[in-house]
């Protein structure tokens, strides 16, 4: 989670409100909303290319077939006309010698079966007697071609008529030449195959170009995404980029969202700050005046009262601080801003900050650190460590040592904080954290419990754990913070 959060901090924040819309979009679009636009565009363009390729293939195929058919019609007509031309009348009888070329030319188209018939209205002169044509030419010289079923196959037949004198009477003679269509089919199929190859080539080319076009037109979008992705965790400045017109609304919406998000974060932080200010400043005033009064007080009784008062102020300011811390931790843990950090530096800052307080009690820190790179929210982690260490200092007697150790434990970093205080006593130690989380008796666990709860939540946000155990030889407390190493 930390990697994704780190690379797209903004997207991370946007995710929650956008989830509903995304679900709605998914339901509405059969393509699936999550599919990339680039892929969708490529598929769409490929689809268009496929349709165009298919259409062009179908058209070429149909043209090729028409052309081949016209060629066949021409050859059939030429054959029929050449036979008709050989018709003659000899001594009153109809005479016909089929010209060799009339049939030989039919070989031109392909190896097709050939049928023919020369007939008068009543009588077949020669050829296939059962070759009937559906219609005859109206005038001499006209050629009619038809596609008919003959002998279990489909044939193309051309028919011409010619009048020849039989005796003294002109007889109308019909010449039909028919041919099967496998040659035409072969020519058409061959051209269709070429067209198909061409169409596939066209399709592949168009798809490739479509892919390139999709990539190219999506580049601005990717650039914006990268620009946003490269940003630091808390960089909510508006994206200032030259974007194509189509992306301007998106960019504007993104910027408005970032603005609102930034404002919302600022409001939350301001609120917490303001709350702290409102609570702490009066407490500080009371405490300061109590201390001044204590200084000038004569009576031991008054002094004791003033001291109790000061302690009560401290206790409540501490509680208020922890409650505010808790709110802040919760807020930050939800919108974890992970960055590269060194856990050792975080711990060092905490020990430096607490050293003067510890010195007041002559408590020494024994710190042993190793460089520990990881990804996380430094402020949260610092808070976790500080809460635990603060407890240790608070509950340690004067002139003792608090040991802080950072070491590698397998794939994790382990921070161990040991004190020589009174430990967790008989209280149900492991439940300290739990009790507060369940919202049980807050009052009783304020102090160590809330601090530990804050630490626990900060650790959980990083995938880490908090473990409490008695100190060595039953003396003091031992708190272990475990965090996954980067």
């Amino acid at each position: 989670m930390t990697d994704a959060a780190a690379s797209r901090p903004v997207a991370q924040k946007v995710r929650r409100p956008a989830a509903g819309q995304a679900a709605a979009g998914r339901a509405a679009s059969p393509w699936g909303f999550s599919r990339s636009i680039g892929r969708r565009l490529t598929i769409l363009l490929a689809g268009i290319a496929a349709v165009l390729a298919l259409v062009s293939w179908a058209m070429v195929t149909s043209f090729a077939r028409a052309a081949a058919e016209r060629t066949q019609d021409g050859v059939l007509a030429a054959s029929a006309l050449s036979i008709a031309g050989a018709l003659g009348s000899e001594q009153g009888n109809i005479r016909l010698e089929l010209p060799y070329s009339a049939f030989a030319m039919l070989d031109a188209i392909g190896q097709d079966r050939v049928f023919y018939r020369v007939a008068t209205a009543d009588d077949t002169l020669t050829g296939y007697e059962d070759l009937e044509v559906p219609r005859l030419p109206r005038t001499a010289g006209e050629v009619v071609t038809d596609t008919i079923a003959y002998r279990g196959t489909t044939v193309r037949v051309a028919t011409v008529t010619r009048s020849v004198l039989s005796g003294q009477v002109p007889v109308r003679i019909m010449v039909s030449v028919a041919q099967t269509r496998s040659g035409v089919d072969e020519i058409a199929a061959g051209l269709s195959r070429s067209a198909a190859a061409l169409s596939v080539g066209f399709f592949l080319l168009a798809t490739g170009l479509g892919w390139a076009a999709a990539r190219n037109s999506l580049r601005p979008l990717n650039e914006i995404a990268q620009a946003v992705g490269r940003r630091g965790p808390s960089d909510l400045r508006p994206v200032q980029r030259d974007a194509p017109g189509e992306l301007a609304p998106l960019l504007a919406a993104l910027n408005r969202l970032m603005e609102r998000l930034g404002a919302s974060i600022r409001r939350s932080e301001d609120f917490i700050t303001e709350a702290a200010h409102r609570v702490r400043t009066p407490l500080a005033t009371v405490r300061a005046q109590a201390e001044v009064a204590l200084h000038s007080a004569e009576s031991e009784e008054v002094k004791a009262t003033l001291r109790r008062m000061i302690r009560a102020v401290d206790e409540s300011s501490r509680s208020a601080g922890q409650l505010l811390d808790h709110a802040t931790v919760g807020f930050r843990a939800e919108t974890l801003r992970a960055e590269d950090l060194d856990l050792a530096a975080v711990i060092r800052r905490v020990t430096d900050g607490l050293a003067p307080t510890a010195e007041m009690k002559d408590i020494a820190f024994s710190v042993s650190l190793v460089p520990a790179p990881m990804r996380g929210d430094a402020i949260l982690l610092e808070n976790a460590v500080r809460n635990v260490l603060d407890n240790a200092v608070k509950y340690s007697p004067a002139e003792t040592v608090v040991t802080v150790t950072l070491e590698r434990a397998g794939s994790a970093w382990r921070i161990t904080i040991r004190d020589e205080g009174r430990g967790f006593g008989d209280a149900a130690v492991p439940q300290l954290v739990e009790r507060f989380r369940r919202g049980a008796n807050v009052e009783k666990v304020v102090g160590s419990g809330l601090g530990l709860t804050i630490a626990d939540e900060a650790l959980r946000a990083h995938g880490g754990t908090l473990t409490l155990s008695p100190g060595d030889n039953g003396v003091g407390a031992c708190v272990t913070l475990t965090l996954p190493a980067a």
Binding site: P99, Y100, L125
Partner: protein
């Protein structure tokens, strides 16, 4: 072959009576069965004599020993009639290209496709229906005795000149097919007539010399061998060569102007009962037809016809042009002209 002996006809009739499965009566001239190791028998009808086809059977058996061959010999006209009437043969082999073509064109052949058919040159097959496996020229055979001391004519002009100058020597001594009876003779005559007008000049000359007409190549060759004929024109070259190999009275006239080359073709009839087996046998025959060793078998391979006499016109084209001469009117016209020339 056409003038079958009465005894042969009797045998054929007896065979027909005894053997089942022959639905329609055909006039068979000869018949032989080569049993295979299996139960399947491929029924073949062919115009080639048994002794001409026998070497093919040996090679087929080498490829497919399981298939038996039932081989029937018939004239090309009988074969045509049998297939047209739907007799149940698995394979039809004939030298009459035009008749074979007509059967295939009329839808009586079954398509067959295999590696062997794909290997054939384009001119040796028509669609997936009709396949050629030999290329056999028509030749002129002469009697050595009667040509003793003469120069051999080098072309048909020489031959015409020779016959004109020495009419006595050639009177009643020239033989050729009676195209009215012989399908092959008709094919040779029509093709030659179409290609060269020399044919009609030669025919008129032969008619003037009181030409002898025959049904079959074998008898013409017999008569040339015996010296009854000096010249037999348009004899089937494959037969002639087979005879010359064992009869030195005969000689083939090397006419170099042109040659009419016939393709012997085979197809699987639509009525075949075992098309798969027929396909296997056909493939074997086609592979033999595409062999390189020209002399091993009595029938020459497809590649045998080369040289100037073959290249003049090439083999007879397998195509619809063959139908022209089968047309009733054309046949009548051709036979009328032929008769005018030959029967003066």
């Amino acid at each position: 072959m056409c003038h079958a002996h009465p005894a042969r006809r009797l045998i054929a009739a007896l065979l027909l009576a005894v053997l089942p499965g022959v639905a329609l009566a055909q006039v068979l001239e000869d018949r032989r069965v080569w049993p295979g190791t299996g139960e399947r028998t491929i029924r073949v009808i062919s115009t080639a004599d048994i002794d001409v086809f026998a070497p093919f059977v040996e090679r087929i058996a080498a490829e497919r020993p399981d298939l038996g061959i039932d081989y029937a010999v018939a004239s090309s006209a009988e074969l045509h009639r049998a297939i047209a009437e739907g007799a149940s043969y698995d394979l039809a082999i004939s030298s009459a290209m035009d008749l074979q073509f007509q059967l295939a064109n009329d839808g009586l052949a079954r398509a067959h496709r295999s590696d062997a058919t794909a290997g054939l040159p384009g001119w040796a097959r028509w669609r997936d229906l009709l396949f050629a496996f030999t290329a056999e020229p028509a030749v002129a055979v002469i009697s050595r005795a009667r040509f003793a001391g003469r120069d051999r004519p080098r072309n048909r002009q020489d031959l015409i000149a020779l016959m004109r100058t020495d009419r006595e020597a050639f009177a009643r001594a020239v033989g050729t097919y009676d195209v009215r009876d012989s399908g092959l003779g008709y094919l040779f005559a029509t093709q030659e007539a179409r290609n060269s007008d020399t044919y009609w000049r030669l025919s008129e000359l032969m008619g003037g010399l009181d030409v002898q007409l025959y049904c079959c190549s074998a008898q013409m060759i017999d008569d040339v061998a015996s010296g009854r004929l000096a010249l037999a024109y348009n004899v089937l070259g494959s037969y002639a060569m087979a005879r010359i190999a064992r009869d030195d009275r005969l000689e083939i006239l090397a006419l170099q102007d042109y040659a009419t080359v016939m393709l012997r073709t085979a197809f699987i009839p639509a009525s075949a009962e075992d098309p798969e087996g027929a396909g296997a046998v056909l493939d074997a025959i086609l592979r033999i037809g595409m062999r390189d060793d020209a002399d091993a078998l009595p029938l020459p391979p497809l590649g045998a016809v080369q040289g100037p006499e073959a290249t003049a016109f090439g083999p007879i084209r397998l195509g619809p042009g063959l139908l022209v001469h089968l047309d009733r009117l054309n046949r009548e016209a051709f036979l009328a002209e032929w008769s005018d020339a030959m029967l003066q």
